[in-house]
C-alpha cells in the first residue's frame, strides 16, 4: 500500500522562559493511502501537538525541533511558510476539537466556507452551489438559509458539522481530525463519527483520527498508535491491538473502558498521573503507574521494537504480557 504521510522522529517542544515542555518526543508513524489511522492517549500526551505539527500550526512558543513529515514524498518541514500554505486545505485539512471556538464568531458560515473554496477559483454561483452541497452532505437541513447564519446561531453538533463541511470544502487528501467528537454529547458523537466515515469512503480520503475513546478507534481505524507522554508506546493494526495488546499502558486503557456486562462491574482506572513533560523521567515514563514495572524500568527506557507483523511495543517485559487478552477476540 502507498504511504500518503510518513512521520519520522518528530520532536515538538514548547519553549517557555524557565522550562521546555517536550510535547512530542521522537514520534514516527505513517498513514497509508485511504486508511484511517488512530492516535490514542489521554489528555496532554502530545496527540494534538502531533496533529498541529503535521499542518505546521504549532503556536508560539511551540517549535518543531526535529524530524521529517513526508507528505506524498515531500518533507513539509523543509518548505517555506508560503509553500506550506499551498498544502493546507487542499492537501491536508484539519478538524478541531472545539466546535465552539474553531469557527470565527463574526463571519457567516458562507464566508467561512468560501474562504476554503478560494483556491478553486469558482464563479460566485458555483461557490454557492458547492457550499450548499457541502452543508447538505454533512447533514445540515435547509442549507440555503443556514449559509448566512453566524456560528452562534448553530448548536454544538451543527457547528461541528459546519466545521467538517469547511474542512472538506477544499477536498483534502488527508484529514486530520483532532478529537472531533470530544466536545459533543454521545448521540451526536455517533452521528459525527458515521458522517466522517461515510465522507471518507465517498471522497477517498486518508484520516488521522485523534481520540481518547477506544470505542471510536475500534469503529473507525485501520491502524492505531497509542501515545503516552509524547511518545508512541504501542502501534498495530486495530484488530491486533484490541485482541493482543502488548503494552501495560494499552492494557490499562482497555481496562478503564466502561462495560455494561456484569463480569466487569467495576472500572479499573490507571492509578497516578502522567509525568511532567518539562522534566521527563530517564526511564520509562509509564513506570510509576505500571503494575509490571521492575528496577530496570526506572533507569532505562525500552525501545519501540517490532514484536509481530506491524505490531510495535515499547516495553522491557513483553513476555510478561504474552497471556494478556484484549477486549475483542481475533
Amino acid at each position: 500500500m502507498k504511504k500518503i504521510l510518513e512521520i519520522n522522529g518528530l520532536v515538538t517542544s514548547f519553549i517557555l522562559k524557565d522550562e521546555t515542555i517536550q510535547a512530542v518526543q521522537d514520534v514516527s508513524f505513517y498513514v497509508n493511502q485511504g486508511e484511517t489511522f488512530g492516535l490514542v492517549g489521554e489528555s496532554g500526551c502530545g496527540k494534538s501537538a502531533t496533529c498541529r505539527s503535521v499542518l505546521r500550526l504549532i503556536r508560539d512558543p511551540g517549535k518543531i525541533l526535529n524530524g521529517e513529515i513526508i507528505y506524498k514524498g515531500i518533507d513539509l518541514l523543509k518548505l517555506t511558510d508560503e509553500e506550506m500554505v499551498n498544502y493546507r486545505g487542499s492537501e491536508i485539512a484539519m478538524i478541531f476539537q472545539e466546535p465552539m471556538t474553531a469557527l470565527n464568531p463574526v463571519l457567516t458560515i458562507r464566508k467561512q466556507i468560501y474562504e476554503a473554496l478560494k483556491r478553486q477559483k469558482l464563479s460566485k454561483n458555483d461557490m454557492e452551489i458547492k457550499a450548499i452541497n457541502l452543508l447538505k452532505k454533512v447533514g445540515i437541513s435547509s442549507p440555503e438559509q443556514r449559509l448566512d447564519n453566524y456560528p452562534h446561531q448553530f448548536s454544538g453538533g451543527m457547528r461541528q458539522r459546519a466545521m467538517i463541511a469547511i474542512s472538506l470544502a477544499s477536498e483534502p487528501a488527508l484529514l486530520v481530525a483532532d478529537e472531533p467528537t470530544t466536545a459533543l454529547d454521545v448521540t451526536i458523537q455517533d452521528q459525527i463519527i458515521k458522517l466522517i466515515n461515510n465522507l471518507k469512503i465517498e471522497m477517498g480520503m486518508s484520516i488521522i483520527l485523534v481520540t481518547h475513546d477506544l470505542g471510536v478507534v475500534a469503529q473507525m481505524c485501520d491502524r492505531v498508535a497509542v501515545m503516552y507522554a509524547g511518545k508512541i508506546m504501542e502501534s498495530a493494526d486495530t484488530l491486533t491491538l484490541f485482541s493482543t495488546p502488548r503494552h501495560p499502558y494499552t492494557i490499562g486503557l482497555m481496562n478503564s473502558i466502561p462495560h455494561t456486562d456484569k463480569e466487569h462491574g467495576k472500572l479499573i482506572p490507571i492509578e497516578g498521573n502522567p509525568p511532567n513533560l518539562s522534566n521527563p523521567p530517564i526511564g520509562c515514563p509509564f513506570e510509576p503507574r505500571c503494575r509490571y514495572s521492575e528496577e530496570i524500568c526506572k533507569t532505562k527506557e525500552a525501545e519501540l521494537i517490532e514484536i509481530g507483523e506491524g505490531h510495535k511495543s515499547r516495553c522491557h517485559f513483553i513476555d510478561k504480557l504474552i497471556d494478556v487478552k484484549g477486549i475483542i477476540e481475533k
Binding site: V85, R88, G89, A93, A102, N104, V106, T108, Y150, I166
Partner: protein, 313 residues
Amino acid sequence: MSTLNYIMKRILQIIPVMIIVTILIFFMIRLIPGDPVTVLLGEKATPEMVKLLTIKMGLDKPIYIQYLFFMKGLVTFDLGNSLHYKIPVFDLINKRFVVTITLTFFTVIFSALISFVTGYMAGLKKDKIEDQIIRMGALVALSMPQFWVGLILLIAFAVKINIFPVGGWGTTWPEHLRAIILPAFTQSLMTAALLARNLRNGVVDTLKMDFVDFARSKGLDERSVKRDHIIRNALISYITLLSMRMAYMLGGSIIIEKVFALPGIGALMIDSIYSRDYAVIQAVVIIFAVIVITINILTDIAYSFLDPRVKLD
C-alpha cells in the same frame, strides 16, 4: 428587531434622560454662590442697579418659573441669550463648536493612526522587543500631563522651529488646519495609548483562538487570516473605546483649549461658569449630553454590525 425600530426606541429613550439632565444642570448651577448680576456689574454696583438688572434678566421670578421658561425655550430650540455677551447662545456656541469638532476630528484621526499601527504590531510581536517598546511608550504617553506635553510641543514646533502657530485659531481654513495639528496631536497621545493597549490585547487574545488556526488550516493566505480573522475580531472593543473617547472629546477639552488658546467649547464652558452665565452653561451641558447619547447609540449600532452575537433590543 430591525435596526430602524431600535434607533426609534433609543431616540425615545433620550427624552427622559434629557429631562433629568435639564433639571440637574438648571438647579445645580444655581447652587453655586454668586449670581450673574453681581459678576456683570462688578463690586461698585448700587442695590438699585442690581435690582433693575435682576428684573431685566428675569432672575427675580421664582426658580420653577425660570425653569419652565428655560424648558419652553428648549423645545422651540431657543437657547436664550448669553447673560454675559448679550448675544444669542446659539451664535456663541456655533463658532466654538466648529473649533471643538475640528479638534476632535483630527484627534481621532491621529489616535487611530498611531494606535492602530503600534497596537497591532505590539499584539503580533507579543513580549518581543517591539511590544515592550510600544508598551513602554504607551505608559509614558499616559503618564505625561497634557498641558505639559502641549507646552513642550509649542516650545519645540512653534517657538524654536516656527512651523505651527503658538496659539489661536486663525481666520481662514488653511490657518485653522495649521493651528489644529499640535493641539490635536497633544490630545491624541493619551487616547492613542489607551487604544494601542486595547488593540494589542485584542490581537493577543484573538491569536490564541482556535478559529485563527482553523482559518490557516483551510489554506487561507496569511494576509486574509490577519485581515478577516485577527483584525476583524480585535477591532470590536477598539471601536467601542474609540467612540467613547470621541464623545468625551466633543465636550471640549479645557486644558488643550487653554494651552493652545483655542476658542472651543471647553474654554467657553469654564468662562461661563466664572461669569455665572447660566444660559450658556445650560446650553453647553445639554448639547454635550445629546452628543454623548447620540454617539452611544451609534456605537451600539456599529457594535451590532461588528459583532453579530450582539442583538439590538
